[in-house]
Amino acid sequence: MDTAIAHAHQPPASFLRRYVFSIDHKVIAKQYLTLSLAMALIGGFTAYLIRWQLAWPETDIPGWGPIGPDNYDALITMHGTVMIFFVAMPFLLGGFGNFLIPLMIGADDMAFPRLNMTSFWMLFTASSLIVASMFVPGGPAAAGWTSYAPLSDNPIYTGVTWGQNLWILAVALEFASFLMGGINFLVTALNLRAPGMTLWRMPLMVWMELTAAVVFLLSVGPLVAGALMLLMDRTLGTGFFRPDRGGDPLLWEHLFWFFGHPEVYVVALPGFGIMLEVLPVFSRKPVFGYRMMVWSTLAAGLLSFLVWAHHMFVSGMDPRLATPFSVTTILISVPFAVLVFAMIATVWGGSIQFTSAMWFALGGLATFMIGGVTGIFLGSATTDIFLHGTYFVVAHFHYTLFPVTFFGGFAGVYYWYPKMFGRMMNEVLGKIHFLFTFIFFNAIFIPLFITGLRGNPRRLYEMSNYDFLKPMQSLHVIATIATIGLLLGQLPFVANFVLSMFFGKKAQDNPWHANTLEWATSSPPPFGNFAEPPTVYRDPYEYSVPGASQDWIAQTAPEPFITTVAAD
């Protein structure tokens, strides 16, 4: 854990050390971003295949051909695994966490730069494994992203042999990678803060990444053990999850969801963090109730460990467990209600600038609310009896994870792109991108809510076996067309992202007139981040302070009402 190199303020000379095996958190962050966007292509393409099959069963899918029921199971498994473990986490934690935490707290790098590099390359290996698993004999894992045993446990049930083993290895490696990454986040934010950067002056993004890191590293352990058990069941003939050998399938469900639910917040909190950085800047208004939000975040993080069994209400677990877990689950809506209300209050009374970043932040907030309220139906054990395992669940978790991952993530890209690459993105393309994303996303999942409420089970290869699903087919067609629209709607983003790197307008150090420390250095920041270590004098969100000479006061501004010229 030798940080000496990182502090020697000299970028390494060789190309390899500078761009490939770099220990500079900014380069590593860009590596994470690139990896996650590349994996998002796979995730998106699987979504396209799945949706096409559901709308027009067993037809030739343009660009692929027909898919069989076994391919379909593999596709949904890969879609879930890739999107959550290899897109959302690298995007929000690996990418933005790595880039922002040191910059926002005024550090020159992570606490353990080499560990940071190792984390990324472990994730890279894990991604390669999951991709490789799609091409092994027997096909990729096909037991769903939750890999419920015994379906995942015994090859005879799926015909999948190495695909599932590689899935386990890839996911385990991914866990190890983010475990080290999370430790790095924690130590960095607790130990490397610039003079004057007290905990209560940290931008909310840092708080969110911290909470996510703690929640992750405390929840993942049992599933690591579970993954090892599953692997031994498949390779050494043990029977941890096989009833015929004295094991118990429900054990896997418990171990999985003990991690699986906190994992949702591991992804959600950084997404909120991004929105909470973007909203005040473009409302020119302080975040509403900073400490209140920090406490709600910590409360949500803590509660996230007490709710996992709500994924198992009808799983056959002891029914007496249901009510306690309903209570905790529905209670968790309180801290999130505080966060959402406070976000609205942050915009309220502001002077709103509708930049692409702001559109995505607002759109994310608006759509996340749908995910939030529909969660209550599933959190109540009683209504979950009917809704569990239907498209209602599918729509619900897409309405929670998509807003934080993509609306939040895109908001972050449009907002921090100037800082990352030193150039501005094109606002017109950005707004077109938002319009497509917002409209088509809702057009996919609102129909799916309806089919879910009619009792449409998820993970069906095709539905012609069910008479009561026949009227639902048109809704599936709408969802599929919208999916294609959503995917095509990302082209403006891709073009914008690539072209702006070369033709974008040169970015000022602080183009948005924001207060937080990352804007107090050049765009892009030099190796070592700050010419001289910054000193922090004030809170991160002092916008439109009455009597101030301008509507923003950087955290580095020493005297009241006088802003540094460090920016511009």
Binding site: S219, G221, L250, H254, D318
Partner: protein, 94 residues
């Protein structure tokens, strides 16, 4: 740094003697013809003591500040909670 530097090697060896003695006692409890329940109680009681000795003196928890206690306590509580919730499903299902 923590105040561990005052420790003399002798203190550490003393702890080790304790650990070995307890190991012997635990094994003895296993071998002696006493009731299974009692034996288990003794054995795991001793294991607890041994573990706490290592944590307290070799990992210097006794001279650490609060944050480390928090870091160590959180997972213990969570793991215990997980096990408790598993009881009805694993132990008491027919």
């Amino acid at each position: 740094m923590s105040s561990t530097t005052e420790h003399s090697d002798f203190d550490y060896v003393l702890i080790w003697v304790w650990l070995v003695a307890l190991l012997g006692a635990g094994t003895l409890a296993f071998l002696l013809p006493i009731g299974k329940g009692a034996a288990l109680a003794v054995i795991f009681g001793i294991a607890m003591v041994k573990a706490s000795l290592v944590v307290r003196d070799y990992m210097h928890l006794k001279s650490e500040r609060l944050l480390i206690y928090v870091i160590a306590a959180l997972p213990l509580i969570l793991a215990l909670g997980l096990a408790l919730v598993l009881i009805p499903d694993i132990v008491y299902h027919r």
